[in-house]
Symmetry: C2
């Protein structure tokens, strides 16, 4: 059931920040392509994303030599190569586990499907949810995960269950042989090293934003009012 | 209206990865505290999160000297200090802009409120949404943002609008003097350096997961089946 894996290359996994930026480069290259362009320089690609050109070249060099001297990057070719590198040149059937508010919003999130990611099966641990239909799909008991994952070649699970049950559901995902979990539960999952987890912890993101706002030097013309009562709250 | 800022320290902003891990340490310390513990070692704190003890000490040292030789960290004191460092020792009234599926799920996301982040005003650019009530709050026209932000001392905006309007809405957020944006729109925003943005790009996270799954050395007992058809899809 893990037929969408390819043979590990033995090369080092690119750091998270590099992969995330490369995803942004790909999306921006597709914008340029829709605008009818055929080549782009690293400085122009970077400028459109607020990233400097040396960083762009370094990030892309992690995956191969894509640039042409005096030309820059050929947009169509680079899009194809990056889609292959990132693994989005194929379909990824997904199991969504947890049909609360966030899970239902993720089910309707149209940008997943555009990238080949399609939620094909729904699961919940709440008996009241099991059997309900969302977007034409029935909610199944988690006990059916192994069978459905095998028959639909599901390699990714989106986990949007409460924190206190997330680990036990993750254990079941792992037991079913699903090698990738996108974890929205606000807790850290313990999984074997063969299983990949990407955590999307919304509270952590908001805390990070608060930290940045508090510690960013203001460029406002009159900074005096920024600090009123700052230490007294 | 920016009274929850404090004077910039002139110190370097901690890297995103450090801040994100410190948010996880804080949450885990709170778990230990609820379990009645008073001290914890860096190795135990790290082990609970799959992070090694040297990394824990290095991350925390970014913000101060918190450890006691032979004791480790005093949990209650460290929680208070980290909450102060991260800026979650205060209230953060938030404007939510964009009441689509994702926006409505974010409005109901209870983990924000537990951290002092409270959505106090809703905005949309869709005339059909304006005037509707969600969770007891009316959806306002974006033109009212400046007035509401000032009267409610709003310093953070959660942006969950479609990509094609995100920049123009971000421009209005900036014009209102709001210094922080949590951006869920799948596009890169251009803002002045005085404005902080944290992007939560769900498609990028899923692409990153696909990359990791494809490139992680499998520990499965029989790896042969993992690669069936890998290159042909």
């Amino acid at each position: 059931m893990k037929d969408s894996r390819r043979e590990p290359s033995g090369e080092k996994l690119a750091p998270k920040a590099v992969v995330n930026r490369v995803c942004l480069y790909l999306r921006q290259l597709e914008v340029f392509q829709r605008q009818g362009e055929s080549t782009v320089s690293s400085s122009r690609l970077g400028a459109s994303l607020g990233i400097n050109d040396a960083q762009v070249r370094k990030d892309l060099a992690f995956f191969g030599q894509f640039g042409y001297p005096g030309i820059g990057y050929r947009i169509e070719g680079l899009i194809g190569k990056l889609r292959h590198v990132l693994g989005i040149d194929r379909d990824w059937p997904i199991a969504l586990i947890g049909l609360g508010n966030l899970g239902r919003a993720l089910l309707k999130y149209k940008h997943f499907r555009r990238r080949g990611f399609q939620i094909v099966a729904l699961f919940d641990i709440d008996p009241h949810k099991i059997g309900q239909m969302y977007d034409g799909l029935p909610v199944r008991a988690i006990g059916e995960l192994a069978e459905v994952a095998a028959s639909r070649t599901i390699n990714l699970a989106v986990l949007s269950v409460p924190a206190d049950v997330a680990q036990s559901v993750a254990d079941q995902i792992v037991a079913c042989g699903i090698p990738g979990i996108l974890n929205f539960a606000p807790t850290t999952l313990a999984v074997p090293s063969s299983v990949s987890v990407v955590a999307v912890d919304l509270s952590v993101q908001l805390e990070h934003l608060a930290y940045k706002v508090l510690n960013t030097q203001s460029a406002f013309p009159d900074p005096a009012h920024l600090f009123d009562g700052a230490s007294g709250r």
